[in-house]
Symmetry: C2
Subunit: 364 residues, 2 copies
Amino acid sequence: MSITAQDVANMAEVSVSTVSRVLSAPEVVAPGTRSRVLAAVEKLGYQPNRSAQSLISGRTSTLGLIVPDMQNPYFAALAKGIQKRAWESGYLVVVADSDEDIAREKALLQGMNQQVDGLLLSSLRSDMEDLTDLLPSTEIVLINREMRGIDSISQDNIEVIRMLTRHLGALGHRQIAYIGGPKNSWSDAQRRRGLEECRQENPGFEFIDLGATSPTQAGGYASADFLIASEATAVICFNDLVAVGVLERLRARKVAVPEDFSVAGIDNVSVCNAVSPTLTSVGVSQQRLGRTATELMLQKITRRTLPRASGRTKAAAEKGSAPTRNRASSMPDTSTAGNELELPIELVVRDSTGPLKAAPYAPD
Amino acid sequence: MSITAQDVANMAEVSVSTVSRVLSAPEVVAPGTRSRVLAAVEKLGYQPNRSAQSLISGRTSTLGLIVPDMQNPYFAALAKGIQKRAWESGYLVVVADSDEDIAREKALLQGMNQQVDGLLLSSLRSDMEDLTDLLPSTEIVLINREMRGIDSISQDNIEVIRMLTRHLGALGHRQIAYIGGPKNSWSDAQRRRGLEECRQENPGFEFIDLGATSPTQAGGYASADFLIASEATAVICFNDLVAVGVLERLRARKVAVPEDFSVAGIDNVSVCNAVSPTLTSVGVSQQRLGRTATELMLQKITRRTLPRASGRTKAAAEKGSAPTRNRASSMPDTSTAGNELELPIELVVRDSTGPLKAAPYAPD
DNA sequence: GGAACTACTGCAAACGTTAGCATGCGTAAA
DNA sequence: TTTACGCATGCTAACGTTTGCAGTAGTTCC
């Protein structure tokens, strides 16, 4: 049915081994043979069977990505960055959506674990234990969550809050509300820590907790009334989607932004420019975040497989020193485990935040 | 390193064949043996190696999805629906983003072709020839594009235009502009056909072509000035993102919506509710579209592999009639090729469209 | 009581590739 | 001229499954 290495071998009058070598280590095969094989490959349109390659090599050339909600523009952009970078290195990306559901998330982890070389996990809700089981079999990079002994990459969430506080403070606001995200969200916890730090650093400020909500527009819509009923003059929202929901509800209730309330989001997703007023937000480029995470992942993967590959050419020759070196590299690589990368963030001021009005908001 | 069927077999004191059968055809193995094997599977946490399964069965339990832009909420929602449905049937989904680039799209088609059981192609820009090469090796379902001999699923784009025209007509508009999408977009071509039909059906109407633009917010932003300069009082945009861009630019130029211009989008994506004014749009639920496309795909896949499977149990017994039946089903299934499914659409009227003003727009 | 079935399970081949080892040839060094 | 070495290539054994075939019981029917 489909073309195998054998077909190519027949046409080029060589053995399958040679065909394999031409594709994986061209330099070891004689130039004449090489071009003959390549011609046959070209002519037949041969593409090696990935399943067979995976079976023998143990590597799938596939990365897994689990996000809580693909429709959230944050994760869509993240996925885009990841896919792009992965493709450049010949990797495919299977993405899965946990729908914010922890049970589903675990099932996805289990189900994808075996079939990918590495797992990129974004905004994970699961606990430590569920991950450590997978750790020996798969490389893992956490995005937007830090965990002991696991590589991760995220934005500096404390700095996020600090930046927004400074911005709102400069505009005269002293009563700042916070609408939080899911309870088991690491980002939310970090941001609350940030609020706590800001509270210490700015004695004149009051930080008002408006509770938790789902990280969606609907969540924000539902929370906006708490904001109106509070003493606050400005609000920081768990993410931009929540902020958009808040804006929508405020508009519905005829409350002016930024005149009556200043509203700030987090993440700086693309919709910030779509809404009116445009939304002040802070964050890193999600595509860049995805790209960096993928690069880290690819490094981890090659580092894991390299010891074998390098041992073939050189270490085989220097018989004396090779064994010790190999033994060392086969240990759980403590030197590289648990790297925590934090990307610098950027504040983008738009129309939804403005100077404090003289008189506080009061319904007509 | 990892647990194989052999390990399970050892523990349960059976052969690997039996382990395999317990998992793939439990009814043929004795209840006692079965539970013994299942206990071992459970205890060891055995998961069959997918690469090995794929190698022998030729099926990967993976679906491919190619979209022009994952960040577009339309495709994000579509991907979500597809992934969800696929997961329910044990399939993973690898998604790839062509970035609206036709060369990249071809490369993705080539690269994914071998490694998936089926390819879901959304808003494809490529030509027929590039697809027909792949056709024998992979199942293909087209989304938002129809092509002779290939299964497809889309919304009725002519009806989309007709519905919007009726809506705007009922509001009094007679000069209706259209901002189009990419030149090689099938959807755009269909919509222009729809405009043509509406022109015939409504002699009193004038349809104004505002040209083509990229299907993004930036594209809409850039096109809005053409709208203002035109005779039109209402505009239909290629998609919601373009409409959002138009709204943004109109706001910047202090043009009121819907007072001065009515603006309608297409697709009814989630941002329609986020912008202000909220955006009138028409379309089908993208998640549902994705789900339906996936179901069609799964059917195609099982239908392709079924003939072999069913021939094992029954056809082997009824030796007389079986051969003819098998021969029939091994033919290129002309009966099922080229099904073109069109999902019913829905108009959602929001705040961006309103009754025609007495006086046309004029800058102060 | 023997024959024919049925139900269950094991054996072994096959899927397409990679990689260690072996082979053969030519060439350089002794 | 002989020995040795290196280079290019082929042979073959894996990798972990699935599946047709065969074999071994136990059971039923004549």
